[in-house]
């Protein structure tokens, strides 16, 4: 029970980290190495709003997500669209986007460092225990989980029940056929990328309630997000969410039952095994 609940809460955190990248990578085909920095920027934004204007991190999303959307939209237009256009193959785009987003991540770190400085940041919000089945969990973690659930549900409903969501899924599955049925792949990709950024920043805001962060820590999130997205099979947000929870369970179980020192090792082992035996991800469909 303890593992189950702990796993669920951690899985929620992981879902917050990874959902945005799924949209960017799964739909817009950009392996965004600056994803973690966007998340950290979201955390800084929440910190700034919380300490400066007493806006709580949940409400802060209302401001941060649209800002991140606009910012990421422009990042896509200015930096990534030229790469998409000049890429002759998917492999070429992959290499170019790795290089480019790596550079962008440095710019993010540099800017955050220039604005906020290099020290560790955290603040206290709702760090009060809440007992479930005799075990205490931080309310802020529970809120983050609920936030993840709401975000995931909204995304899912939007993807499955709206026209623009449908377009996104079409581009995700096969960009070439999506083009044939009159979908503007470029615009849809830009939207997916921007939306991914917004989701990531929202995640950063929620995570900042209980995490200690500094300007350089983004790469930790990027790695985690990449792993989860790949585990989940890249193309489907559902896969990403399930993968986030599987990882959460796996880590909590290993930490509780075996040794906390092996949690990350277990996560990577799981990841590597999945890659070896189901390279299309746990939930991806086998391509012929």
């Amino acid at each position: 029970m303890e593992i189950l609940l702990g796993g669920i809460l951690l899985g929620g955190t992981y879902a917050l980290i990874a959902m945005g990248l799924q949209l960017q990578y799964g739909v817009a085909r950009i392996m965004n190495l600056a994803n973690g920095e966007v998340l950290v920027a979201g955390s800084f934004g929440a910190l700034w709003l919380f300490t400066g204007a007493q806006i709580n991190p949940i409400l802060a999303i209302v401001l941060l997500a649209p800002a991140a959307y606009i910012l990421n939209y422009f990042i896509y237009l200015i930096f990534l669209r030229p790469l998409v256009r000049r890429a002759k193959s998917e492999g070429q785009l992959e290499v170019d986007s790795i290089l480019s987003t790596f550079g962008i991540s440095f710019i993010f770190i540099g800017l955050l460092h220039a604005i906020f400085g290099g020290e560790y940041f955290n603040y206290e919000y709702l760090e009060i225990p809440f007992e479930i089945f005799g075990q205490a969990y931080g309310v802020n973690r529970i809120i983050a989980f609920v936030g993840a659930a709401i975000l995931a549900a909204l995304l899912y409903i939007w993807l499955t029940h709206t026209r623009s969501g449908l377009r996104l899924r079409a581009v995700s599955v096969t960009p070439s056929s999506a083009r044939l049925v009159g979908i503007d792949v470029e615009r849809t990709s830009a939207m997916a990328f921007a939306l991914g950024g917004a989701v990531t920043a929202a995640g950063g805001s929620l995570i900042s309630m209980f995490d200690t962060f500094d300007a350089s820590i983004g790469v930790v999130f990027t790695m985690k997000a990449l792993i989860i997205v790949i585990l989940g099979g890249v193309k489907e947000i559902r896969g990403t969410i399930v993968a986030a929870f599987i990882l959460g369970f796996a880590e909590t179980a290993v930490a509780t039952l075996i040794d906390p020192g092996l949690t990350l090792a277990a996560a990577f082992l799981l990841f590597i095994l999945v890659l070896l035996f189901r390279p299309q991800g746990l939930f991806g469909r086998q391509s012929s």
């Binding site: 392996m31 492999g91 992959e94 790795i98 290089l99 550079g103 710019i107 890659l275 390279p279």
Partner: protein
């Protein structure tokens, strides 16, 4: 050997000989700059041996480098340093072979992410073992190996890597890899054991990275897993190699030298905004020089030749 090959061979010898003189000048700065450049030159070149022809982007360099460092760190009290370098190389080769065997099925981005995950897995396991087995103190590598020696070691390793690369390019193996890189389906139908070819190259590349880690361990004196297994190292190797051009043996080096010099210039000029400036330069390069410096140089040399 053709005439161009002889010419290139001579140029290489002269360049290495000139580089070998750096420690004799009294400038410690250029020596440490030289070590940085030599380190990445060897790492990027050996990376490109595998990744250039196969187009597999490996982010496992840091894993091998870390294995090399830790081998030396753990064993320095027990065995002579030179033996440890050999032991490290053997461990690196074995790990590379195992990884190669396991990853044959993966292609494209899965391989990229796999290697990234692998580096982290190895690091986690190594640190966990270190914690649980409880070495009584940290990993100290206190030797009398000074910077000039490390630099020369790296240069020698560099020459070996170049020689291996040159030899592979001329051999059936190199030809096989070029075919694999172009079209793996054609490769298998031409009778190429693509798995074996890839594993051999991955082993070469991984072993070299392990040796580099082992050679550099005395320079750090104190081995920390977060530094030995830095994922940043893997990324920078990829980036310098791509920046130079991974298709040519000499490509990575023309990427490494300007990259490190510019980076260093930024470090010195904008000590508070190094990272920001680096990011900006990085983007400039990606957008302005899409085919790497090697592509750029070849384009201009073709033009020059075209004119005369």
């Amino acid at each position: 050997m053709t005439r161009t090959e002889i010419r290139n061979f001579l140029i290489t010898i002269v360049l290495f000989a000139l580089a070998a003189l750096i420690p004799l000048s009294d400038s410690g700065f250029w020596l440490s700059m030289g070590i940085t450049i030599a380190t990445y030159m060897v790492l990027s070149t050996s990376w490109a041996l595998f990744s250039g022809p196969t187009h597999y982007i490996s982010l496992a360099t840091g894993a091998f480098y870390g294995i090399g460092m830790f081998t030396v760190g753990v064993g320095i009290e027990l065995l002579p340093y030179w033996v440890l370098v050999v032991v490290a190389a053997v461990i690196g080769a074995v790990v590379a072979a195992l990884v190669g065997l396991a990853t044959l099925r993966l292609s494209g981005v899965y391989f990229v992410i796999f290697t990234l995950g692998l580096a982290e897995l190895i690091r986690q396991i190594v640190t966990w073992v270190q914690t649980t087995m409880g070495s009584s103190s940290g990993l100290y590598v206190l030797t009398n190996i000074t910077e000039p020696i490390i630099f020369w070691e790296l240069l020698i390793l560099g020459i070996i890597v170049y020689f291996i690369g040159w030899w592979i390019n001329r051999s059936r193996l190199g030809f096989a890899l070029r075919i694999i890189g172009n079209d793996e389906v054609v490769a298998v139908h031409s009778g190429i054991n693509t798995a074996a070819a890839k594993i051999i190259l991955f082993v070469v590349s991984g072993t070299v990275a392990t040796i580099v880690g082992a050679l550099l361990a005395p320079r750090l004196s104190y081995i920390e897993s977060s530094i030995a297994f830095s994922p940043m190292l893997s990324f920078i190797v990829v980036i310098t190699a791509l920046l130079g051009g991974a298709q040519r043996l000499w490509g990575p080096i023309v990427g490494v030298i300007p990259f490190m010099l510019v980076w260093d210039f930024l470090t010195a000029t904008f000590p508070n905004q190094t990272t920001l400036m680096l990011g900006i330069c990085f983007l400039l390069v990606v957008y302005a020089i899409p085919n790497g410096f090697a592509g750029l140089i070849e384009k201009y040399s073709h033009r020059l030749r075209g004119r005369t």
